[in-house]
């Protein structure tokens, strides 16, 4: 017999799950758990997780929401003149001979041996949502299938079925949800990320559901006791499967509220000097939390970094944003390397597109840059990608791709390759059929693998 409130965990999986596994699963979202899991099992049979071993274990995605200007970051064009480079005419040398980046990124210049710059990214679309979908899934928009984004795919292959044992779900977004940009697509809501909410630059970092401001641990315990006393129905029918399942989920929830996960987000245990180096702002501290999550084995972390959609007063914004980016990302790379984690952690920096190379000086833009999907840059570091390289190039003004056009699909396939997700890996559709995880058009970035 099966009833709709029967606990499906054991039934679905056919083996007893330990509490820790379940906890993480539960956090990842409950929708369609049974259905999705039974389908997922079918597809693992097609793509055994055991075969999927790559050098990389985790990905930190720095998502430059809104589209960062490639000319003002990793693809400077000092020779193009004032109408293209504005105030940034003196790119700086990095610690790799011949690679120059924007003068506002001095710390990142010291880390250039750790990353590769792809200067020939292109998809040709200038609309945020469509471009985001393309960069996050590696697929053209408007097909019949809505594909899951990279984070969902990685958490599908590298999450619980690959032996991930964390309490936190395998896909975490710092801090605000990206909405459509981080969809589970046809994999379903279960593969959507856990968005922390809150602000890691504040104390405490109020992680949604886990850390509640103004309620001390003692008060949490007092409240729980009170709730137990008032839980009249549960006390009237304590041995029913429904009430047992509820009690179990509540124990697990309180373990997270009162246990280790709340500590994981408590940055006060980090040295203040290091916190300063990351930058005491939301992005910098998010980078630090991301490193801590990698240490816990979380396979995919997105730092959702808004504020790059600079149509107006672009350069005023860059004056504050670029140093923030510089400190946070450079310290992240150095810190990961110092801890021996960079070899197994891919750091992927990109937005949905670049920005118009030609500056709009006129009002109302007053020095603004629009959307530019014809040519833009992405950065890859760690996880076995070769650093100190530049892949492809844009033309003299950064307007079109000059050499080696690279699609989002190529970049994503290369990240999958580092993680051991091969071109034969398949994803399950809701009806049980499967489709390839990687676009058939994708090639690998062989230059940096």
């Amino acid at each position: 017999m099966r009833t709709n409130h029967d606990d499906c965990r054991d039934g679905c999986f056919g083996y007893h799950m330990t509490r820790r596994i379940f906890l993480g699963r539960a956090l990842a979202g409950a929708a369609g758990l049974c259905l999705a899991d039974s389908l997922a099992i079918r597809s693992w049979a097609a793509t055994p997780a055991a075969k999927m071993t790559g050098q990389a274990k985790s990905v930190i995605q720095i998502w430059m929401w809104g589209g960062p200007a490639h000319l003002d970051t990793f693809d400077p064009k000092p020779e193009a003149g004032n109408d293209y480079c504005g105030p940034y005419k003196k790119p700086i040398e990095t610690n790799v001979k011949g690679i120059r980046i924007c003068e506002q990124l001095p710390e990142l210049a010291k880390q250039a041996d750790k990353y590769a710059i792809i200067r020939s990214m292109t998809h040709g679309n200038n609309a945020h949502e469509i471009a985001t979908y393309m960069v996050q899934t590696g697929r053209p928009a408007g097909e019949r299938l809505v594909y899951p984004c990279v984070g969902a795919v990685v958490s599908f292959f590298k999450g619980y079925q690959a032996g991930y044992r964390g309490q936190l779900p395998p896909y975490v977004v710092l801090t605000e949800p990206q909405g459509r940009a981080s969809e589970g697509g046809f994999l379903g809501a279960k593969y959507k990320p856990f968005a922390t909410g809150g602000d890691p630059a504040k104390t405490p970092f109020e992680v949604e559901g886990i850390v509640a401001p103004g309620i001390t641990d003692a008060q949490q315990r007092q409240r729980r006791e009170w709730l137990d006393q008032l839980n009249t129905l549960r006390r009237a029918a304590p041995n029913t499967p429904a009430m047992k399942a509820l009690a179990r989920s509540e124990d697990e929830a309180y373990d997270m509220i009162l246990g280790g996960d709340a500590k994981l987000f408590d940055l006060s245990t980090e040295k203040d000097e290091l916190r300063e180096r990351y930058g005491k702002n939301t992005f910098g501290q998010s980078c630090l939390v991301a490193r801590r999550l990698v240490e816990q084995g979380v396979p995919y972390i997105t730092i959702n970094y808004p504020g790059w959609d600079t149509h107006k007063n672009h350069f005023q914004t860059m004056r504050t944003k670029l140093p923030e980016l510089d400190k946070g990302m450079a310290t992240l790379l150095q810190d990961l390397a110092d801890r021996g984690l960079l070899e197994s952690t891919v750091v992927w920096w990109s937005g949905e597109f670049g920005r118009t190379p030609k500056i709009q000086w006129e009002a109302p833009y007053n020095g603004g840059r629009g959307h530019w999907g014809n040519a833009f840059s992405a950065v890859l570091a760690g996880g076995g990608f070769k650093g100190g390289r530049v892949v492809g190039s844009s033309d003299a003004r950064g307007e079109t791709v000059k050499e080696r056009p690279t699609s989002p699909a190529d970049l994503i396939a290369s990240i999958y390759d580092r993680l051991g997700i091969g071109s034969d890996a398949r994803l399950p559709l809701p009806d049980g059929a499967t489709v390839p995880a990687t676009s058939s058009t994708a090639g690998l970035l062989k230059e940096i693998i």
């Binding site: 017999m1 709709n4 906890l23 369609g32 299938l145």
Partner: protein, 511 residues
């Protein structure tokens, strides 16, 4: 057992000898109830056979909450609870059932369940697109509100032709993963016959698919409009086979779908009535007479064949009046039993010895929290264009489109409407759900910002008011003691009590 009545709730005073904990009596009716109808006879006979004692009939307070939640997907207001508890007439349960079946929320909540089955959503894997979703949902809801005879409802869907905007039931033929005749046949079988064609031989499915072979689709000049029609000229003479094995020679120039609809809606058809009465039973009682409720087949026998046969006969004798079936079930002692089991034997639930505990549907749960706190939700549409405007006060049970959602609905297992299977809705509890209700800013904000709760705090008896608002009953003496002994420190007692009651099993579960 000696009892006294206090504020409409029956409280036991001497319980030590009964072996029950005092808490049970908040939920059960002390007097031997006269509630009973023809549904109970086969149920009691089956229970006797298995030596299982049925649970007593539930208290009035439990009943009023249960019937609102099951029929309307909506909590009763404190005033509605009060007036029901104070009503002294012996037939008040029957009258309440009649009233609720005429309310707008009944159609809304039924439409929600139907749209789950019909896979009503804008995008992937069912691409109906927003305008068509709205038209289709409205047609379904209106059909249920006017209590359209079920055979007519099914026939109108199966034989629909025209524009997806102007002839809404044609969307049935669009709400499929692909438009192959076999895929359509599969959807027809699952939805209206409760049959899973995966278990059929390919020949049997192909025989049925032949009825849907001439369906064609064409675009118009209006954006996203699509005309569904049957190609009467292009069809070829061929044989189709009904699921019962009867062969039908199809002639060109006839709409083969109507031949299939004729067969399906015949009073002696073994699937149509059985499927829908079993689903209604499942929706109300929580366990199908055949379980899974959409897996009717000879080797998956009903738990109580006589009960199923009775409901089928009643539906047909009452000209496919669905509300008659609702009334029949809701007025039975079987439906009105307490949810506290008399035994831990797992089969007790299967034979309907008690009303099974189950978590509220995601939509019902958030609507209830909003009702209690007087707050509203924001929803996200996954469709980039066109922009859909959802008025702030829209309740979750009213949402037409599964592509319009919220993180709460997804966390609490609202179905994505991908498959049309009842099991897509996942009401099992999880740690993440508990975190959300216990500790999230979403719920904290609702409680803190609630003008409704602040007003309750100023009322004469805030504790009673909170219990009536959140749990649809008065507190027991024990609960009053616990509440008055609580020291919330610097926190507000009303808000703390509201938090606790929302987090009780009694609030989160149908009981």
């Amino acid at each position: 057992m000696k009892t006294k009545q206090l504020s409409g709730v029956i409280l036991a005073t001497t319980l030590a000898m009964t072996g029950l904990t005092p808490v049970v009596d908040a939920f059960e009716r002390a007097d031997a109830s006269s509630v009973s109808n023809e549904v109970d006879k086969p149920v009691l006979a089956e229970l006797r056979q298995h030596g299982i004692a049925p649970a007593p009939v539930c208290s009035d307070a439990v009943f009023v909450r249960r019937v609102y939640v099951d029929v309307l997907g909506t909590l009763p207001s404190p005033a509605e609870v009060r007036s029901f508890l104070e009503d002294r007439s012996p037939d008040k349960r029957r009258r309440l059932i009649d009233q609720l079946l005429e309310r707008k929320e009944f159609a809304d909540y039924c439409a929600l369940k139907w749209c789950d089955l019909l896979r009503v959503k804008s995008e992937f894997p069912i691409n109906l697109w927003p305008n068509a979703v709205q038209a289709y949902h409205r047609w379904v809801r209106d059909s249920l509100a006017e209590n359209k005879p079920y055979d007519r409802f099914v026939r109108e869907i199966l034989t629909a032709s025209g524009s997806n905007f102007r002839a809404p039931p044609v969307n049935f033929f669009r709400a499929v993963r692909d438009r192959e005749p076999a895929t359509i046949a599969q959807a027809v079988a699952l939805t209206f016959m409760g049959a899973r064609t995966e278990r059929w031989s390919p020949e049997r499915l192909a025989g049925m698919a032949a009825f849907f072979q001439d369906i064609k689709y064409k675009k118009s000049n209006e954006w996203k409009e699509e005309i569904v029609y049957v190609d009467l000229l292009g069809g070829t003479a061929r044989d189709a086979v009904l699921p019962d094995g009867a062969r039908v020679a199809l002639k060109p120039g006839t709409d083969a779908r109507s031949i299939f609809a004729d067969w399906l809606t015949r009073p002696d058809n073994p699937w149509l009535a059985r499927n829908i009465v079993n689903r209604i039973w499942y929706w109300l009682v929580g366990v199908g007479i055949v379980q899974e409720p959409d897996d009717l087949r000879p080797d998956n026998p009903p738990a109580n064949p006589e009960l199923l046969a009775l409901l089928e006969r009643e539906l047909i004798a009452h000209r496919y009046d669905l509300k008659h079936i609702y009334r029949l079930i809701l007025n039975s002692a079987t439906y009105q039993r307490s949810s506290i089991p008399t035994t831990e034997r797992p089969e007790a639930e299967r034979y309907f010895a008690h009303y099974p505990l189950r978590r509220l549907d995601a939509e019902v749960l958030i609507d209830a929290i909003n009702q209690i706190t007087g707050t509203t939700e924001s929803y996200v549409s996954l469709i980039p264009e066109p922009w859909t405007y959802i008025p702030k006060e829209t309740r979750s049970i009213e949402l037409a489109d599964a592509s319009i959602t919220s993180s709460f609905l997804e966390l609490f297992g609202r179905p994505a409407r991908d498959s049309g299977l009842e099991s897509e809705r996942n009401n099992s509890p999880s740690a993440a759900q508990r975190l959300h209700l216990l500790n999230s800013s979403h719920i904290r904000r609702k409680l803190a910002d609630s003008a409704t709760l602040r007003a309750l705090a100023r009322s004469q008896n805030p504790v009673d008011e909170l219990y009536l608002t959140i749990l649809s009953r008065y507190p027991t003496d024990d609960e009053r003691k616990i509440v008055s002994g609580y020291k919330p420190g610097n926190r507000n007692l009303t808000a703390e009590l509201a938090w606790a009651l929302i987090n009780t099993a009694e609030f989160q579960y149908r009981h």
